[in-house]
Amino acid sequence: MALSGMRGLSVFISDVRNCQNKDQERLRVDKELGNIRTRFKNEKGLTPYEKKKYVWKMLYIHMLGYDVDFGHMEAVSLISAPKYPEKQVGYIVTSCLLNENHDFLRLAINTVRNDIIGRNETFQCLALTMVGNIGGREFAESLAPDVQKLIISSSCRPLVRKKAALCLLRLYRKNPDVVNIDGWADRMAQLLDERDLGVLTSSMSLLVALVSNNHEAYWSSLPKCVKILERLARNQDIPQEYTYYGIPSPWLQVKTMRALQYFPTVEDPNTRRSLFEVLQRILMGTDVVKNVNKNNASHAVLFEALSLVMHLDAEKEMMSQCVALLGKFIAVREPNIRYLGLENMTRMLMVADVQDIIKRHQAQIITSLKDSDISIRRRALDLLYGMCDVSNAKDIVEELLQYLSSSDFAMREELSLKAAILAEKFAPDLSWYVDVILQLIDKAGDFISDDIWFRVVQFVTNNEDLQPYAAAKAREYIDKPAIHETMVKVSAYLLGEHGHLLARRPGCSPKEIFNAIHEKLPTVTMPTIPILLSTYAKILMHTQPPDLELQNQIWSIFHKFESCIDVEIQQRAVEYFALSSKGAALADVLAEMPKFPERQSSLIKKAEDIETDTAEQSAIKLRSQQQVSNALVVTDQRPVNGMTPDVPLTLVKVASTNSKEDLYPEDHISNGENGTVTEVDPQLPSADLLSDLLGPLAIEGPPDAVQSGQSSLSGLEGISDAVDSAAIVPIEGQINAVQPIGSIHERFHTLCFKDSGVLYEDPHIQIGVKAEWRAHQGRLVLFLGNKNTSPLVSVQALILPPSHLKMELSLVPETIPPRAQVQCPLEVVNLRPSRDVAVLDFSYSFGTSLVNIKLRLPAVLNKFLQPLSLSMEEFFPQWKSLSGPPLKLQEVVRGVRPLPLLEMANLFNNCRLMVCPGLDQNPNNLVASTTFYSESMHAMLCLVRIETDPADRTQLRMTVATGDPTLTFELKEFIKEQLVDIPVMSSVPAMAPASSLPINPVSLSNDPGAILAGLL
């Protein structure tokens, strides 16, 4: 079909096509542009037909990529032509050539408006299309009311109405402040009754734009959306022309489900039920078929349904269906589906409870990391990054490192940044972290920002234990030929600071280290030289007794750089030279770097900022924002109460961090970790992270406790710690303006020993608890009392149970009437011994404020104990039969709250550990017995012996014996927690809560606890 009538244009296109090369083409185009320019200059002689032809030529030239900087006026002026053919060309060419910011468009506003309000339907369509495609702010100001009128006018035919709807969508999306949409909620709902599916498709897009800004106003549209979706999914009354490969308008289905995702929930039970029926049908009924287009269309619908299900946080069963589907998708060969499977699985990570299932697919995801398609590799990388936590960090990071060497350049930067962040966030131990970063620098030095190597230096400086290791690693790397300059920097720095720690190792004499580093000097650029000079000065300082030969060598280097053109290098050379001849002063000036102040990782901060920037309003994203990272803030302990605890690494670090959080809750928040929410949740990595820092502690625990299959078990210690600290830092860090009455922590503590009382109180609500415990089962009743004279609305209570408790909360009403009290029974079954704590996530609205609180529930370990009194004849055979770890564990506990023996006995009895007087001959000792009930082991006898030191009441030795290793460990830790009460610890803030005898033989000799043990 030739371009009827416009021969000139066809000829021009042919000419351009026949050009042999780019130069010829440019010549031909320039000639044409010159021609058009002269024709436009004497416009009078142009017929409408000619004008039209030239304007098309301009568009064609523009499309070829040439600058067309004239003639815009002519294109715009065609819009006001009286006849359809010219007008049409004017509108189309204008909307292609110009963008919304172009000045000429202003000239056309009046004509456009006349066309829109005029009677000519075809003109209306042309005008609406152009405004919909390039309409800017001025169009919104002057045309929006007219377009709105048109949409709701009853005389407007579908072909105009659908254009008007999209035109309004554009004006509103670009300038929501200009377009007045008061009262549009009802009109929108009316528009959704439209029978014409073309109009409905456009209207649905408009609805999406409107609800994305303010869903509150459009509740009335929600049931209609569900109706439309039902009608489509069941293929009821859908004209043939609106089915696409047999699927009733997949686009409208997708749009409708998109609109639904902007509403936080679907409250009406009937609507909810219908919606879930439809979703279920889509999830189950989508099969893979041969026809590509049908497949794509049905999967477009399916993936949108998945998003909606995730958003609605549907019933567990449906969620696991989704995960199962995604698991299937990420394993298929078809690349589109696999790509989308990976992408949606990453989104799915934001929904709680599925992480563990997703982890099962780790191997499959790693395969996709090596796919030939970069799009898929990117998705796989993102997913691996998102699913990483302490349990799999090692595997994933090592996989990323391995892949780094073979990955394409486009991805290396992202890859190395992600690996660095993960290594820092989830390092099981710091030496591994150092390993990873050094490997990263080695493999992808070009992509390692300074932030990354500064951070590793910070860690090493602040952790003495790490220094010899890091220095040794640096020594290894500096020996390699052709290492990256960043590696020279970091190795030289580490060796200068800590190289002397290696002195006795082979190849690590000052001279040898110096030579190894100095070999790199000729290969480095200016900015690295000052670092090397500092390193030399430090090596010189550490060489005792001085090595004259080395000294002369280094001095001659300083001397050489004294006249360097670079000021920094020159200054250092001069200063170091002068200093090194001063002898003693050198040692002071070049003393080891002081520890760095604790700070958040700049890397992680950057990553978070990016995430927040791009986040949108959809609920899943909001949720993801709340998952604040728990970056490793190990560095050093800040002096607490003026004391600088100088104590061995890992163990104490956490203890002091905790106490600090307790003492300075505001400080904790201002650190940028507004993570009270995060920390309470036992599923989250922060807790695991702490537990892993506590690594050595696990040694004294029963070995199979770690391997018993629940990943959460390995996080025992950390979780309870995290929960402890979080309770002190209630919710002020968040949005809540409502202050609790009384201390949440104290109330919880009291309830741990009592079965009824108040769990939480603020000006609006009081939450009371009453509990009954029988063997391994319990029944808690929550009393929710509204203190106000108006109702409390949007009440929601969610139980976050730890893995060892089965909990079922009966329905909590959404509204609590004024001055009324509601009772909500909660059934508890104890499966295993564990000190993890269940959390009640409670929220309600009062007036404009939404209050959300996280409360620990007093369903703690001792509630499942039944005191048992034993005679001497019963006690000792049992005590003897349980010999040694892991069934019997002994530990010296320091930092104990000094208590008279009688009070300690009371404490034990309160914990349902029955003190048996007279069993131990020593009056300073206590022996107690009890029975522990759980579903997995029914009744289990527990025996405890405490030996106190009358000379020092802050320490004691504790022995715990039961028939189950996990139970022994848990019970021992539990008792320890009761004895070493953190709030009272403010006087001894940074004391180590515990250190165990068997693993700490070195400390025996000078440790008072050890002396005590020896005495006994």
Binding site: E100, T122, G132, L169, W251, F303, P335, S375, T614
Partner: protein, 161 residues
């Protein structure tokens, strides 16, 4: 939303561009250069999505032509992929087994048709029949105007004889 539509030939020649987000002339050329490099080099068995800047580009190759649409990160990719196909089917129906040459010499028709399918970067009409009807109506309007013009010019021509 769709930010722009691009039709690029395998040799990198642009056959159609439509911008729903404001890009200056300079940016447009840059985008086209970047995307040609990104899309044309991709092998045949890879997925139809490319991540580009903070967007995604959904593309599909039909014979010698690549149809590309640029969308937001969280838009539904498969839906867009089928909008492309929907567009192609309508072109095919209009031209009768469409080929690249049709689109070169009748590029203005392709613009008309696209305007009936997309407005503001959103799908306007999913019925092929309706789109075909509207395009036919436009064509006949143009034809009618031409006939009228020629008849008038005939009259004038005769009158001035």
């Amino acid at each position: 939303m769709i930010h722009f539509v691009l039709l690029i030939s395998r040799q990198g020649k642009v056959r159609l561009t439509k911008w729903y987000s404001p890009y200056s002339q300079k940016e447009r050329s840059k985008v086209i250069r970047e995307l040609s490099g990104l899309v044309l080099t991709r092998g045949p068995k890879l997925c139809n999505f490319v991540e580009w800047r903070e967007f995604k580009v959904v593309y599909k190759r039909y014979a010698s032509l690549y149809f590309c649409m640029c969308i937001d990160q969280d838009d539904n990719e498969l839906e867009i992929l089928e909008i492309i196909h929907h567009f192609v089917e309508i072109l095919d129906r209009y031209f009768g087994s469409v080929c690249e040459l049709d689109l070169i010499f009748n590029f203005h028709k392709a613009y008309y048709i696209l305007d009936e399918i997309l407005i503001a970067g959103e799908l306007q009409e999913s019925s092929k029949k309706t789109v075909a009807r509207l395009i036919a109506a436009q064509d006949s309007l143009v034809e009618a105007a031409k006939e009228q013009a020629s008849s008038i010019s005939n009259i004038i021509a005769q009158a001035t004889k």
